[in-house]
Amino acid sequence: MTAGPRLFSILRQGPYLIASIHTALDDSQLVRFQEDLIDQIGRYRARGVVIDVAALDVLDSFASRMLRDIGEMARLRGAATVVVGIQPDVAFTMVRLGMDTGSVATALDLEEGLSSLERLMNASPGRRT
């Protein structure tokens, strides 16, 4: 039953986690994604998370809220979150929908996301040093 293509993947890269959503997820799958990610942030003491949503053709209120919540929970666990890969029409729709997008850090793509995490790490004194 659980076979079939992976819906999302979470990979470690140094102190960061790279979470990619591979396909349109329904609400319960999104919740599972959130739980898995938060779990791994804690387990690996990640300092930053990049969430790649380039494969999503819709980010409705539930999914947007989910991303915001992840950012919030990650922050409480000491990790910064950057959402990358929001498509142009998806971005516009989120705004039109009325999402308050102010609190989510965003970047164009994975590369940008990682370098903006670097910047954040350097700007704020890290926990370790």
């Binding site: 349109a24 516009f92 009325g98």
Partner: protein, 359 residues
Amino acid sequence: MPAAEPAGGTQQGSGSPDVAALIPLVRRIVTARVPDQATADDLVQETLARVLAASGRLESGTLEPYAIVTARNVVTSLWRDQDRQRRHQHRVVDLRPPEAPDEDVLVQEDRAAIAQALSRLSDREREILLAHEVAGRDTRSLAAELGSTAGAVAAQLNRSRARLRVEYLLAAERIEPPTEQCRPVLLAISGGDRRRQRDVDAARHLLECEACGRLSEPLMGRGRTRDDEVRVPVRKDADVVAARHVARELATRLDFSPTDLTLIATAVSELARNIVRFADVGEIVVELLEAPRRGIKVVARDAGPGIDDLDRALLDGYSTYRGLGLGLPGARRLMDEFGIASESGRGTTVTMIKWRDEP
């Protein structure tokens, strides 16, 4: 795996029904309609699984007819799915199996169903219908004989045909309509009479009555083939994704811009989620509008508890579940037209339009 449960159950015993004994029968029905071996196996299994699941509430002796009906339904729903992806149809299922061994059985079943349906018509209805359809009499000569007009006879014939279709389906599926409402609703749908459908509140009945929901599909497919309208039943999370996918696909045909496609898909997503969260069951109907102005219309309908305070529901931030309370007001902002009707205890209907053309 669901076909197990051979159990020493005796046929007349009150214990577990002997589902395994149904396998030959079910297989015969399925393979007569689906030539592809692998698909047929899947369908047999699915049928047995459904029969097994229902066996608890079936009276002894009805297991076999139930299995027959279920097998037919399972095949029909496969066909329907196939129909949706017509491109692949020829690969999996040939709708007209060339020379199936059980063709005779099917023909007999069909003949019996038609006979039963005909017997449900009044004598007069049956006579006119047969004179026209079988003996080939035209409406004018029939009218002269009956002291009526050709137009009136034609209208009568249409009504009779509509009734015959309903009765045929009921007989073929061996369904006894569970409520008083069923026949009038099915008749209104079969006749394609939109006003009558409104009068008997057909849309609502189809949501509430499983039997009619199922029968209405072949009835609606008849007469006008509508590939510019798609209905998506919405019950669970995955249906939300399916609904917005359907809307996007349909809207693509009108060459909406990428942004508009996403606006539409997102609005549908919001409404479909509302159905899952608040109403348990409902449907999304997506329809392309051609004249006088092109656009896409989305109707989200449920038989849920209804919304007591519509004004409040349309305010940002009003929400009783874990969203942002943007469902309704958000969808409204994404589309060009937005209307909502709700009745406490009866359900909610939201209608939205995105125009393709400038007014």
